[in-house]
Every structure is written in C-alpha cells, then in structure tokens.
C-alpha cells in the first residue's frame, strides 16, 4: 500500500519534471503575419522550425524542418508524397500544387536537379515565408507561381503541357478549395498526364468527405492506390491514367530506390505493403462535380 503511494508520488514528480522541461523548450514564435487567406505563424523548438496556419483555430503544423538537417522530412504526409516514385521513379517534370514550407519541391529538386519543377501557391505571403524561414528559393529549374491551382492546370492542359509527377497538396489548410475536389478538375489533371505520369493527392481520411472524394477519384481514374499510415491522419491517393502496376512491381521498385530516399527520412520500402486498391468507402456517395461540391459542409458532418 505504502509502496504504491510512493510509486504514485514518484510518477507525479516525473510528470512535473517533464512538464517543466517541456516548458523550457516551449515553441518560440519567430514570425507572425496575417495574409489574405490565413494567419501564418512560424515557430521554433530547438532545431525544429514549423510553419502553422490559423493557430488560433487549432490547426496543426503545415510543415516542419530541422534547421540543422534540412534534408530530413519531418512529417509522415510529406514523406508519403514521395510514394509515387514507386510508379514513376525518374520524373523529368514535376508539378506541386501547394507550397507550404517548400519541403516537397526542395526534396524533389535535391533528388532530381535536372527535372523541371513547377510549384503553384495561391498565397504570396506563404511564398515569402517559405523563402525567408524555410530556405526555399527558385532555381533555374524550379519556379513557384502565385496562382490558383485549377486555372494553372487548365491552362497547362490547353497548352498541351504534361508532367511526369503531380503532387496535389492544397487540402491541408483550414478551408478546402472545393473547386479542386471535382470530377471536372480531375479530368483537367488527367489532361496534363501521360501514360507514365503519376498523381499523388493528399486528401482527407476522415468524415463524409472521404467517401465522396474516393467515389470521385474512382470515376475519374478507375482503380487507384489508397495509401494510409497508422501514424498519420492523411490519406494519399496514388493514380495513373492506365492500369496500375501490380504490387509485386512496387516492391521491386522500392528495393531498387529506397536507399536514395533514406537521407530524407522516407521509408520507401515500408510503403508498398501499405498501398491498397481495396474499396473501404461508401460507394453510394455522390460524386463531386462543379455542380455539386460542398466540401466544406461535408467535412463537418
């Protein structure tokens, strides 16, 4: 009995000590601004620098970077964006919709210095913050465009431009751009893809929107790989124009290239077994179209 009390007391001490040590390394805000679209905050804890949107409304980190090891990708969802390499290991042209702290395009630029990389970000303040605090900068081959993703892709399609690797990462904020969830948008995305291109879309894994989005992607692409990790709230959709390669090929591919992704912290060889084409959504849900796309209302329900 007494032993127990002592043990509890010790635990209490440990917890208190932990709390105090946490407090001493509490996130320091190094930059705050209110842009046209959101509140932007940059914080730093030790070597870990993070970009946050709308902190007051309880949003999570958009992106984090280790200042002393800038190659390392901190979040599952940024690492998961590279899962498309299992299907397209050597992209020559890359499109990233949504800049954030710039870690996805910078990793691509580091991996493929000769690839042409276009980044589209709607908020010029985010571009500025990425440049000032996250070491992002345009290069000869990498350009960030301040534009909305949908007209950018529509225009690229009309010009007949295609990309080998497309990352859609515009949905992690507080507000969902509903016009980039629709069937018509996905058709426009398809128009900038070739048979070898891969699309990796960071989407919602919770709420009714998951069903609606899955139905819409399936109508547009047919079967796609659904990629979830137990440690992450994100769901990646990996899609191609033609039929998907069997998982066996992905395993081989991961063996071949996993080593090159190690320094970024991407556990690529762990990914193939997480990919599935199994339907785990309600297929009777309505497809999202330009006529019907209440994404922001569906998320809350």
């Amino acid at each position: 009995m007494q032993k127990n009390v002592l043990k509890n007391l010790c635990q209490l001490c440990a917890v208190t000590a932990l709390l105090f040590s946490q407090a001493s390394v509490w996130a320091e805000t190094i930059h705050e601004e209110r842009s046209k679209y959101r509140d932007i905050t940059v914080t730093q804890v030790g070597d870990r620098r993070c970009l946050l949107f709308n902190v007051h409304r309880g949003d999570r980190n958009q992106t984090c970077m280790m200042v002393d090891d800038r190659d390392l990708l901190v979040f599952d969802y940024t690492r998961m964006s590279f899962s498309g390499m299992l299907l397209q290991p050597e992209p020559e042209s890359i499109l990233v919709i949504g800049l954030g702290g710039g870690s996805i395009p910078m990793t691509f630029a580091d991996m493929f210095p000769n690839a042409k990389i276009d980044v589209v970000e709607i908020d010029e303040a985010v571009v500025r913050v990425a440049e000032e605090y996250f070491y992002y900068s345009d290069t000869d081959n990498m350009t960030v465009y301040v534009d909305d993703g949908r007209p950018f892709i529509k225009r690229a399609g009309i010009r007949g431009q295609t990309y080998d690797y497309i990352v859609l990462d515009a949905f992690s904020g507080d507000y969902i751009p509903e016009h980039m969830l629709t069937r018509e948008f996905l058709e426009e995305v398809k128009s900038i893809m070739t048979a070898d291109s891969v699309l990796v879309a960071n989407t919602f894994s919770t709420s009714r929107l998951y069903d609606h989005e899955s139905v819409t992607y399936q109508r547009a692409f047919g079967e796609f790989y659904n990629f979830k990790l137990p440690t992450s709230g994100n769901r990646m959709i990996i899609a191609q124009l033609g039929t998907l390669p069997p998982r066996g090929e992905l395993v081989e591919e991961s063996r071949r290239i996993a080593a090159s992704l190690e320094k970024y912290g991407v556990p690529l060889s762990d990914y193939p077994r997480r990919l599935t084409t199994r339907v785990d959504w309600d297929m009777s849900r309505r497809e999202l179209t330009d006529q019907y796309s209440p994404g922001n209302l569906l998320r809350d329900n």
Binding site: Y37, I122, P151
Partner: protein, 220 residues
C-alpha cells in the same frame, strides 16, 4: 395636403415580392463564386470581382428603376422586371461555359478574367433586379408623409430576403442541390413573381370595375 392615389397592387403583395427579389439576388451572387471558380480559381479577387459587379449593377438598376417609376407606374412594367430578370439569368445556366471560355483564353490575370466574366454573366439580370426596389417604393407610396416609412419597410423586407437567400444558399442549398438546380429555382421564383403581379393586378382591376359598375347602377 396629401394626394391619395389608387394603389396598383396590395402592399402585402409588393412586400413579399421585394423579399423574393432580395432572396434571388443573393442566391445568384453566392453561386457566382462557384460558377467562376473552375476558370478563375477561388482566390479572394474572384469574390471581389463578383461583389463589385453586383454592386455596380444594382446601383445602376436603382437609378433606372427610380427614373422609370416617375412615368405612369404600373403593374405590367413591374411584372416585366421580374420576368426579365428571370429570362436574363438563363445564360448563367445555359451558356456559362461558352461565355467564360473565351474570357479565360484571352485574359491571363484571373482578377480581370473574373471581372469580365462577372460582367457578362451577372450585370444585366442584377441591374434589372435592382430596378425592383425603387419601383416598389413608388407603388407602395400613397402620400409624401409616409414615403420614408414605405421605403424603410421595403429595404427591411428586401434585405431580409437577401439575408435568408445568402444563408439558405451557402448553408443548405449547395448541400442539397446542384448549382443549376438552385439557379432554375431562382428563375422559376422570379417568373412566378411576375405572373403573380399580373394576376393580382388583373383581379384588382376586375374588382374596381365591378365596384364602379355597381356604383353606376345605384346612381341610375
């Protein structure tokens, strides 16, 4: 001092119609962003374009509607505002893509692209909807003394309609219906409002004709 005039329409009818017009204006405006976003995106400037064009169109409509109300205010003109606004909203439903496509191709900057698209899609129907308010005031006012009272009542009702239209569209309609279905609803309501005006003015004329006939009979 006040000069009494026969009313063309019952006040309750005019007030309800002003509600309908306010409702439809905001329903169409709220859907405007949804209609433009496939071409011009969802940036703040697209909302800016839409609101600017709606405000300009309404202001011109107020001016013209007020001017028109000075000459022989009558129910048929009033009805035509509703039916005309409904008819000129049809291109938003039927030809939105052929209207926006050439603008999208010609103008790279989404700010000016969305501004021009808003002009071509929304300017005319919104101007006509703007004519309804001053004309309604004229139809409701019988004497100088209560003109302010009537104007206030109309602003109240039509702005209330706008509030309900905004909330209904953004909270519920987009969840229940397709964009074009909602627009068809607005067009239908406007045309129906026009028909109601024509009918009730016809009935009123009939009644007053009967009354004067009875009066004439009594005199005889």
């Amino acid at each position: 001092m006040s000069k009494k005039q026969a009313r063309v329409l019952p006040r309750s009818v005019i007030a309800s119609l002003a509600f309908v017009s306010g409702f439809c204006i905001m329903t169409i405006e709220m859907l405007g962003a949804r209609i433009l976003s496939p071409y011009f995106g969802g940036s703040l400037s697209v909302w800016g374009s839409i609101i600017t064009i709606f405000m300009l169109a309404l202001s011109l409509g107020y001016l013209l509607g007020g001017r028109l109300s000075t000459k022989n205010p009558n129910a048929i003109t009033y009805a035509m505002f509703f039916i005309g606004a409904g008819a000129f909203s049809l291109p938003v439903i039927l030809f939105a893509d052929p209207i926006m496509e050439p603008i999208f191709m010609a103008i790279e900057d989404p700010r000016y692209g969305s501004l021009f698209a808003s002009i071509f899609l929304f300017f005319i129907p919104t101007s006509i909807l703007g004519m309804i308010s001053p004309y309604s005031v004229r139809l409701m006012v019988e004497s100088e003394e209560h003109s302010g009272h009537m104007a206030g009542l109309l602003y109240f009702v039509s702005t209330l309609g706008s509030a309900v239209g905004t909330l209904g569209t953004s909270f519920y309609f987009v969840l229940w219906f397709e964009v074009n279905q909602i627009l068809w609803g607005a067009v239908f309501s406007l045309v129906l409002a026009g028909v109601v005006i024509l009918l009730s003015s016809y009935l009123k004329n009939l009644k007053s004709a009967n009354r004067s006939a009875t009066y004439a009979k009594k005199r005889a």
